[in-house]
């Protein structure tokens, strides 16, 4: 099944993601930036689809766009945002910002200069099997241990949240 990686789709989706990423930081209204973030995540899901990983794309949509972003919007709405809107947009640490930008620029240049040696010759060969089975085999096979620890961590987080909210009920 040839991946659907037509170049137009690729540039469109990655452009969309970068653009909405920029929007996230420039918008004054926090809800607008949250929406931009959702757009970025959906663009990312599209990219996954192009890499022929539908399972990851599906999970991305459900978890990120459907779950976490909804809770983001919850928080933004409950905290009244009049105050934050009036604050002046850019804070003082522009010096640190420039340094970080320069460092990033140097990194890009280096990677570009190194060029081919970093990347394998041809596009990676996609396995024939459906992506879901493959992930399942990896997740529950070789990386079973890591998977368990991650779920333990989540459990701790949930219990923490309950304890914090518990005091008030």
């Amino acid at each position: 099944m040839a991946p659907v990686a037509t170049t137009f789709f690729f540039y469109f989706l990655s452009g969309l993601t970068v653009l909405s990423g920029a929007l996230v930081i420039t918008r004054k209204n926090p809800v607008h930036s949250a929406l931009a973030l959702i757009l970025a995540l959906l663009g990312q899901a599209g990219l996954y689809l192009m890499l022929y990983a539908p399972f990851v794309a599906g999970v991305q949509i459900i978890l990120y766009a459907g779950g976490i972003m909804v809770l983001f919007l919850f928080v933004i709405m409950l905290v009244n945002i009049e105050r934050s809107q009036k604050e002046e947009q850019f804070n003082k640490q522009w010096l640190v910002g420039i340094l970080a930008a320069v460092a990033l620029g140097v990194l890009f240049v280096l990677v570009y200069a190194k060029g081919k040696s970093l990347f394998p010759e041809h596009a990676v060969q996609l396995p024939e099997q459906s992506n879901t089975q493959q992930i399942a085999v990896l997740l529950y096979g070789n990386y079973m241990f890591a998977f368990e620890i991650a779920s333990l961590l989540l459990l701790v987080a949930i219990i923490g949240a309950v304890v914090m909210a518990k005091k008030r009920i």
Binding site: N80, E82, M164, R168
Partner: protein, 389 residues
């Protein structure tokens, strides 16, 4: 949201200061919601200011008076007979019992006794009116909690009662059927047949309502344990009627201090145990059945005879004062009339059951959720015409 609370705090609601959220803990600030006078679920123009912490109700304050027409002031400028129609406009849902209370109070003042036939007709019409009032209550109360269907069933059956009223005295809702000293109209010739036909028609219908709601899991979950009030609090707060009986107090004026031929009928007084919305619902359903029993017995033995006692054209009751109360569908409805010997009453004070029952709202709702406030207002069965007078 903040501008809504700013406009509210200008209101001098003394016992409802906006508590500052304790900064020590991540606490959302307390919210004042204004269940406004035009809210669909407050039966009429009642405004309830709710102080909420999230969903829980911390305190309520009822702002009433939107429907105040100054009935008691008007009474002082009308003769006794002229004031009679005003009385129907107070509790417009149970107009007949208002009229009965007023006429009987003035008859006591004049020391006049209504003839037995008039008394029987009065009892039949009052009980029919109680049925209509309970049906309207059930329809709107179920609608507030979300069940749409009972409303149509109850209004279809209530229509039959209103037809009988219309045939008897020409008016459906504010009937003005009674005069001081007896009844105005003789019963039209098919009256007994209509009433018995109605009773047989409605008896299975009440079981139909029960079928719809009593064992409906969500209905039980929405009403059990909601708006609980104990019998001691009821008596202390002056709450009367089905609300009092649902808390376990077996007190009904028709039995305690019988008036207008109630003494010759046998009927029980249904009571509940734990005074929550579900018990009040059951008590009112039983009361409907008891009213049917009374009507059945009354229709069977309406005595012959005059329908109007010998009452002078112009009523000039002797100087003095009298307090007479009857069991209206909502509770004890009392009239305190002071007469100075002239044709116009010197002072008429109406003791409305809804006004006093509404006072218990704050205690019943504290600690419950917003959705329960609606359920409790529904179960108190208040009519704003009577609360504001």
């Amino acid at each position: 949201m903040t501008d809504a609370t700013k406009s509210l705090s200008r209101l001098s609601s003394s016992n409802l200061e906006l508590g500052e959220p304790d900064k020590t803990f991540l606490d959302t600030n307390e919210l004042i919601i204004n269940m406004g006078p035009q809210h669909p679920a407050t039966h009429g123009v009642l405004r309830v200011i709710l102080k909420l912490d999230g969903e829980k109700v911390l305190g309520t304050e009822c702002v009433i008076g939107y429907l105040h027409r100054g009935v008691e002031k008007i009474a002082e400028h009308r003769t006794y007979a002229m004031f009679n129609p005003y009385v129907d406009r107070m509790d417009y849902v149970a107009a007949v019992s208002n009229g009965l209370g007023y006429c009987e109070a003035v008859e006591k003042l004049l020391n006049v006794e209504a003839p037995p036939r008039a008394k029987y007709i009065r009892v039949i019409l009052t009980e029919l009116n109680r049925l209509a009032s309970h049906m309207l209550w059930l329809g709107t109360h179920a609608l507030d909690i979300g069940a749409i269907t009972p409303l149509f069933y109850t209004f279809r059956d209530r229509e039959e009662i209103l037809k009988i009223f219309e045939k008897y005295c020409g008016a459906r809702l504010t009937t003005h059927a009674f005069r001081i000293g007896g009844c105005q109209y003789e019963t039209y010739e098919g009256f007994e047949r209509d009433v018995t036909k109605f009773v047989d028609f409605v008896k299975p219908k009440i079981d139909e309502y029960e079928e719809l709601l009593t064992t409906n899991r969500i209905w039980v979950k929405r009403t059990k344990g909601v708006g609980v009030i104990s019998d001691k609090d009821c008596i202390a707060l002056g709450v009367t009627g089905p609300v009092l009986r649902a808390s376990g107090v077996k007190w009904d004026l028709r039995k305690a201090q019988p008036y207008a031929a109630y003494s010759d009928f046998d009927f029980e007084i249904p009571t509940g145990q734990n005074g929550d919305t579900y018990d009040r619902y059951l008590v009112r359903m039983q009361e409907m059945r008891q009213s049917l029993r009374i009507i059945e017995q009354a229709v069977g033995k309406i005595p012959e005879g005059p329908i109007m006692a010998k009452v002078p054209k112009v009523l000039k009751p002797p100087v003095g004062e009298i307090y007479h109360s009857i069991e209206a569908p909502k509770g004890e409805l009392g009239y305190f009339i002071v007469s100075d010997g002239s044709t116009q009453p010197y002072r008429v004070r109406v003791r409305p059951p809804s006004f006093v029952n509404l006072q218990a709202l704050d205690m019943m709702v504290r600690g419950q959720l917003v959705a329960d406030v609606i359920a409790v207002i529904g179960t108190l069965d208040i009519v704003l015409g009577e609360v504001d007078r």
